[in-house]
């Protein structure tokens, strides 16, 4: 019960801090929109070409928006060594991780929705026919990405070249997630039978669980000196 209170306190605190300075979410959304907008100039968004390029474009936008978010998420913690301050309490480090992870998931979830709406507008593409499976893939891919991004954000926060270190550390680990997400998004948008991308979905679900459990257990070592 106390762990749930800790999770909620950290989640609510991150939302309140973001509401006060409005830096993280706006930067994530603007960056995602920029990627979508610039790509729309690069090629004529016909139906076939959209099907070929949209999955990659979507996940590039999600990935870069996420990097910005993870860096900003720990900037506030770094400022007055607040992460260390949390480590001075008897709170379960795993609960601290879950609280931070949920806040990051909330912000990246909003950025995902903004990017998807932008794709609908700029590419005149409808996700309605595949909404159920598409939403599931985006949710699983985003959870895996945020699970890893949150812990590497905390690791990179204590390094000198943190903005560079975060993608360098994180992308090799989440590469299978992006491959799975792009492959399954492609299959879904092409209207293929669910059995054609079930393997990728299982991979995404497996990675989500493994990353969440591992990061929950390892966060203790990240917040100590």
């Amino acid at each position: 019960m106390q762990s749930l209170r800790v999770v909620w306190a950290i989640f609510a605190k991150d939302l309140r801090v973001e509401w006060r300075h409005r830096e993280t979410l706006s930067a994530m959304c603007v960056f995602g929109l920029l990627v979508v907008f610039l790509f729309s100039f690069a090629y004529e968004p016909g139906r076939e070409e959209s099907l070929r390029l949209l999955p990659g474009l979507l996940w590039i936008a999600f990935a870069f928006a996420g990097i910005l978010g993870f860096n900003r998420s720990f900037a506030a913690e770094r400022e007055n060594q607040c992460l260390e301050g949390m480590g001075l309490t008897p709170a379960d480090p795993g609960a601290i991780y879950i609280g931070k992870m949920l806040a990051n998931l909330f912000f990246l979830g909003i950025a995902d929705v903004v990017v998807i709406f932008a794709v609908v507008l700029f590419y005149n593409f409808s996700f309605i026919p595949t909404l159920k499976w598409f939403s599931l893939i985006v949710a699983l891919g985003t959870i895996s990405y945020v699970a890893v991004g949150t812990i590497f954000g905390a690791v990179a926060a204590n390094t000198r070249m943190r903005e560079v270190m975060l993608p360098v550390l994180q992308f090799p680990v989440v590469l299978p997630v992006f491959i799975g997400a792009i492959e399954s998004t492609t299959a879904v948008l092409r209207g293929e039978n669910p059995s054609a991308f079930a393997g990728w979905l299982k991979l995404l679900a497996g990675f989500s669980i493994i990353f969440l459990v591992l990061c929950y257990l390892l966060f203790e070592y990240v917040i100590e000196e």
């Binding site: 007055n80 607040c82 260390e84 001075l88 309490t89």
Partner: protein, 242 residues
């Protein structure tokens, strides 16, 4: 005859111990073979020049910094394995405030109090704010507070959980004369209430008036550990000036 486990635990209750602790940051040795035993209710002044290892010693005692060599123990148990019990009874003031700039002092205290799992949180917050004369400024963003007010908010955070152990690194930094006097009065009364106080300050006179035991460090080594009244003050001061 060796003590039974519960007996041994009672004997060690509230005792903090460093056994031959060394701490290295790369090639730099911040602590070298330091051994200490701090009993409940003691008031200990950490004294030494800049870079002597005072901050590292406090962090090691709090379980924030793992010794490179040796062991840090609380109640006879290694802090590496179990620091949650100590942390639940600990108030810590460091060079950093541990406060979120975007939140108010009250919101910061509420957040930290939740992490501590305090039962009567609103009452604890009001007490901590009252203790450091922060009630009128409690709903202002911490980022807008002056240096002195920020230090008072930092102290309020450390006292929020009515800690049994107070580790204070330069607690008087930034405080005005009135706040300094109030903090001194507060610290003097702590050991009488059975609370353990370990603190550092650059003013020997100020520290000596508050503590009964002096631990002097020089280049990471223990130079003196004993009653303040018996301390070789002049030679310690001379070392500090070098």
């Amino acid at each position: 005859m060796p003590l039974e486990a519960p007996q041994a635990r009672r004997v060690l209750e509230g005792i903090l111990e460093l056994r031959d602790v060394s701490k290295y940051f790369g090639d730099l040795a911040a602590l070298r073979g330091v051994s200490l035993r701090i009993e409940p209710g003691e008031s200990v002044l950490l004294y030494g020049p800049n870079g002597a290892g005072k901050t590292t010693l406090l962090r090691t005692l709090a379980g924030l910094s793992r010794p490179s060599e040796g062991r840090a123990l609380f109640n006879g148990r290694d802090l590496r394995q179990d620091s949650a019990e100590l942390k639940s009874k600990l108030g810590f003031v460091s060079h950093a405030s541990f406060l979120y700039g975007e939140l108010t002092a009250r919101e910061n205290l509420k957040f930290i109090g939740t992490l501590f799992g305090l039962r009567d949180l609103e009452k604890s917050i009001d007490c901590a704010l009252e203790l450091f004369d922060l009630r009128r400024r409690a709903d202002e963003s911490v980022r807008g507070l002056s240096r002195g007010l920020l230090q008072r908010a930092t102290l309020a955070r450390a006292f929020l959980n009515d800690p049994e152990f107070l580790f204070l690194d330069e607690p008087f930094t930034g405080l005005d004369a009135n706040s300094t006097r109030k903090l001194e009065d507060l610290l003097v009364g702590l050991p009488k209430r059975g609370k353990t106080l370990v603190f550092s300050t650059h003013s020997f006179e100020q520290g000596a008036a508050l503590a009964r035991r002096l631990v002097a460090l020089e280049a990471g080594r223990l130079r003196y550990d004993g009653p303040v009244a018996m301390a070789p003050i002049e030679s310690l001061r001379a070392a500090g000036k070098q």
